[in-house]
């Protein structure tokens, strides 16, 4: 092999060659698109991204520098199938060629959707959507904060619903843009202010729009702000089919702004009806209760003890009389018994003994009598007032009292019976007329039948 280099041959220095190739390549592949799958992803200090892009057979290194990284709205991760826009360059130190990326877009779905899904998953993982941390929305808020655009139809729709449901509500509008790059920051500020102003509930609302239009409501910062808000938040963004991060993190998700207004305050008519129904219910219950007590009271009143106390007293008297009679009989029997015993044992028995027995029996009798008397006096005390009335009545009918009032009693002197009829006495028989202060003896001269009323 020839050991000399032909004269005039160009000899490169390493860096010179690398520089030349780099210039050539960078010129030839200055703005290309390349498709592949991301592996070996690294993002040290969140400054520059480094990863490999692969297909079935081959692999190429990719670097993306800070300025461009900042513009990515979704997260780069291993396994992601992407299109990369950039240029091919040489990393001189290792003579390694690589792609310097300007932009990356996902192959299967739009960047916004991917970003949305990634953020949703992340926030879900840290528990921002947990049902058990959601604050209850008050039924009757005294201040309803609304965050939306003052110029839009949404605020008017909300007012319409509130007018229909409640009427005397207090609404505080915080005007914000609901679209564009500043919207989510403004909404965060609006939450701060409504929280400071002590709203009882906050509605964040916006009408329908494209996924791009709704982007401010898929903002991580806004999600965190809603999560930290002390006031319950109702999200009513877009149409029924639209879902935003704002919806997931809010304490209540409304399908539309109109629905949000319905969730924000109770329906006065329904609630009034409920109150009246309950009032009616307990009124009926107490009325029932009272009338059942009334019935009970009436049946008590109808009982003899309250109605005709004298009948009870009479039966007690009768009982007392019976007992007295019984006592008398017992006493007689006892004496009889003692007498017969005395006959049998007359030889042995002494008078003292008999006397003692009799007196002991008397003591027994006395005790029984006192017992009875006490029982009766108990009854007397028990029905003292009724007794008084009774006594008054009795005194009214007492014959002595009747005489005092001018009446007199006529007795047949012979039979000593009261003359109640003209047949109780004959002509020429003597009659005793009893008056209040004595009596008059008189003779029947004649009799004529007839009623006192006929005179």
């Amino acid at each position: 092999m020839d050991s000399s280099i032909p004269v005039g041959t160009k000899i490169y220095k390493v860096s010179e060659l690398n520089f030349e190739i780099k210039s050539e390549i960078e010129c030839a592949y200055s703005n290309i698109w390349i498709e592949g799958e991301i592996t070996n992803f690294a993002y040290p200090n969140k400054k520059h991204m480094y990863f490999s892009l692969v297909d079935e057979n081959s692999m190429i290194r990719v670097a993306m520098f800070e300025n461009n990284c900042k513009n990515l709205i979704f997260n780069i991760e291993n396994g992601l199938h992407v299109y990369i826009n950039g240029y091919v360059s040489i990393y001189d130190k290792r003579s390694e060629y690589q792609i310097i990326a300007y932009n990356i877009i996902p192959v299967k779905k739009g960047s916004l959707l991917l970003a949305f899904e990634q953020l949703k998953e992340k926030l879900q993982c840290i528990g921002l959507f947990d049902e058990n941390i959601k604050k209850p929305v008050p039924l009757l808020p005294s201040k309803i904060g609304v965050i939306t655009s003052k110029g839009g139809a949404v605020i008017r729709d909300i007012i319409k619903i509130l007018n229909k449901r409640y009427g005397n509500y207090h609404l505080i509008l915080r005007n914000t843009p609901v679209q564009g790059s500043e919207a989510s920051k403004e909404i965060c500020k609006a939450i701060d202010e409504l929280e400071e102003y002590k709203a009882d509930v906050i509605i964040i609302a916006r009408g329908g729009g494209s996924f791009e239009d709704l982007a401010p409501f898929n903002d991580e910062e806004l999600a965190m702000r809603i999560f930290k808000c002390n006031v319950p938040v109702i999200s009513g963004v877009g149409h029924q089919t639209d879902f935003t991060i704002c919806d997931f993190v809010a304490d209540k998700r409304a399908a539309t702004p109109t629905h949000a207004a319905e969730l924000a305050i109770l329906n006065k008519k329904d609630e009034t009806l409920k109150i009246n129904k309950n009032s009616e219910k307990f009124l009926n219950l107490i009325t029932q209760k009272l009338s059942s007590y009334k019935r009970e009271l009436r049946s008590l009143k109808e009982r003899k003890i309250f109605n005709r106390p004298e009948t009870i007293l009479n039966s007690l008297w009768q009982e007392y009389d019976d007992m007295n009679e019984d006592l008398k009989n017992k006493y007689k029997n006892l004496i009889k018994l003692n007498k017969s015993k005395f006959k049998i044992t007359s030889a042995k028995a002494s008078l003292i003994n008999i006397k003692r027995r009799i007196s002991s029996n008397r003591v027994n009798l006395n005790n029984t009598f006192v017992f009875l008397k006490n029982n009766c006096s108990f009854v007397f005390t028990f029905k003292k007032n009724n007794l008084k009335i009774l006594l008054e009545k009795t005194s009214f009918y007492n014959p002595a009292n009747i005489l005092k009032r001018g009446f007199s009693i006529v007795k047949n002197k012979k039979t000593d019976k009261i003359v109640k009829s003209i047949n109780d006495i004959s002509i020429d028989e003597l009659a005793l007329i009893l008056l209040k202060d004595g009596f008059i003896e008189s003779k029947v001269m004649s009799k004529s039948p007839g009623s006192i009323n006929e005179r």
Binding site: S142, Y197, K281, L283, I286, K289
Partner: protein
């Protein structure tokens, strides 16, 4: 119990409770009367709470010196949907 301090929700819940208590057949007359009075007070309170507020539509802004300010605004319902 201080009835006046209840929120609307609490008062409504208490009202339901009163009805339930009164439905109990074994309740004494005294406590039934007590419950009844409580019920009357509660339903009055609920109705009062429903009607005491005054309709206000205001806009919240922050002034240059950082103070919050509310001012009345005149926002009519959407003209189109109003006609019904």
């Amino acid at each position: 119990m201080n009835i006046d301090k209840l929120t609307f929700e609490e008062a409504m819940a208490k009202l339901e409770e009163v009805v339930k208590d009164l439905e109990d057949e074994n309740i004494s007359l005294d406590s039934a009367m007590e419950k009844f009075e409580e019920g009357v007070k509660l339903s009055e309170l609920c109705l009062k709470k429903l009607n005491e507020a005054e309709k206000k539509i205001e806009e919240l802004t922050r002034t240059e010196n950082g103070q919050l300010k509310v001012s009345k605004i005149d926002l009519k319902e959407d003209e189109g949907s109003l006609k019904n």
